[in-house]
């Protein structure tokens, strides 16, 4: 009988060791759980060129009645009567699985591929559009923010980044720009508290005496590695 008990204890010790008990400690057992930090990301990419998941166009002050939604480039420009603004919108409903309205958006980043860098460091501002617009119908004249330059004011921007070749500028060279953080806007759209009409991007100081232009790839270029992207990182449990 004693022989059997010893054998059982030996088996039991094996089980206990398996869950982390210290050898020789039969009176107590401590388990430690692993630390998990989960995130989920939805990356929306403007591909293929005909996708409706993303729409983009440029409004040009110099051609106020023209629509440029079919161009392969997007431009932000500051100059005397030649200012240009980008309008773009990502359809968040293409995320699969859908981003729950209760999700907590930790970070949302707009990624644009810059192909022409201005010689001066320029600050570009993002403003959430206030009304619907069409990729093939938007013009300088009918844009949601109106035709007054430097409007809306800088103070109402919800994102910003800088581009230009001078040292110290945030984005010095061609490639995907960094700094286009739009977490607040996307969180609001996900929660349904505001409507997603996309963004307008303009130079922080329109009407520059010397024209300064930053050029980005539009979805119409159909080059996957340069397409505009919106990256939404969120959690469903705080």
């Amino acid at each position: 009988m004693i022989r059997h008990r010893v054998r059982v204890l030996a088996i039991g010790g094996g089980i206990l060791l398996g869950v982390g008990i210290l050898p020789g400690s039969a009176a107590s057992l401590t388990l430690t759980s692993q630390n998990f930090t989960p995130y989920r990301t939805c990356s929306i990419t403007a591909t293929p060129a005909t996708t409706t998941a993303m729409t983009d166009t440029t409004a040009r002050q110099g051609t106020p009645a023209g629509n440029f939604g079919a161009l392969t480039t997007l431009t932000v420009s500051s100059g005397s009567a030649v200012n240009q603004r980008i309008y773009l919108r990502f359809d968040l409903t293409v995320c699969s699985p859908a981003v729950p309205t209760s999700a907590i958006v930790r970070l949302a980043t707009l990624r644009l591929y810059m192909t022409a860098v201005p010689a001066a460091c320029r600050v570009l501002d993002l403003f959430p559009a206030t009304a619907a617009w069409g990729e093939t119908t938007l013009t300088w004249n009918n844009q949601p923010f109106g035709t007054t330059i430097n409007s809306p004011p800088t103070a109402s921007r919800t994102g910003t980044f800088s581009v230009g070749t001078p040292a110290g500028c945030q984005n010095l060279a061609a490639g995907y720009v960094t700094g286009g953080t739009v977490t607040t806007d996307v969180a609001s759209w996900v929660a349904g508290s505001t409507t997603n009409f996309g963004w307008m991007i303009r130079d922080d100081t329109e009407g520059s005496a010397t024209t300064r232009t930053a050029t980005f790839t539009a979805k119409e270029l159909a080059t996957t590695a340069q397409e505009p992207q919106l990256v939404i990182t969120y959690v469903t449990v705080p």
Partner: protein
């Protein structure tokens, strides 16, 4: 002999019940002593609640790797597991987070094609 086998079964049952309790109770810390069993639930804090940058690295129309940045030092030493799903292909990989945090690039084993949207799941395990 029958008596010894009965004792054997009883002891084995106690061990099994104890082990099962340890699994079912998803507690951060569980202790017991002979003659009594106490259980408590303790939340294990995540290493960060910050927003991480998650950028796809695209190669030939596929998501070849994922670069996760802005990882704080509190996650240093953790293992980053990444899965990318484009609705057709589901693949992933993992990499260790440097001790000081920072940025980690995870190569995707079977790069999925870039589509209008991809879902990327991240899990930092540990540290």
């Amino acid at each position: 002999m029958d008596s010894s086998m009965g004792t054997l079964r009883r002891i084995a049952a106690v061990i099994l019940v104890t082990a099962a309790g340890a699994v079912v109770g998803s507690a951060a810390s569980l202790s017991f002593a002979s003659g009594s069993l106490g259980a408590a639930t303790t939340a294990v804090p995540r290493c960060t609640t910050a927003g991480l940058t998650v950028f796809q690295n695209l190669t030939a129309g596929t998501v070849s790797s994922i670069t996760v940045g802005a990882i704080p030092a509190t996650c240093g030493g953790a293992t980053l597991q990444v899965t990318v799903n484009n609705g057709v292909t589901n693949s992933g990989g993992s990499a260790a987070v440097p001790g000081g945090g920072g940025s980690v690039t995870v190569t995707i084993a079977v790069p999925p094609a870039v589509t209008a949207s991809e879902q990327t799941d991240l899990v930092l395990v540990g540290p």
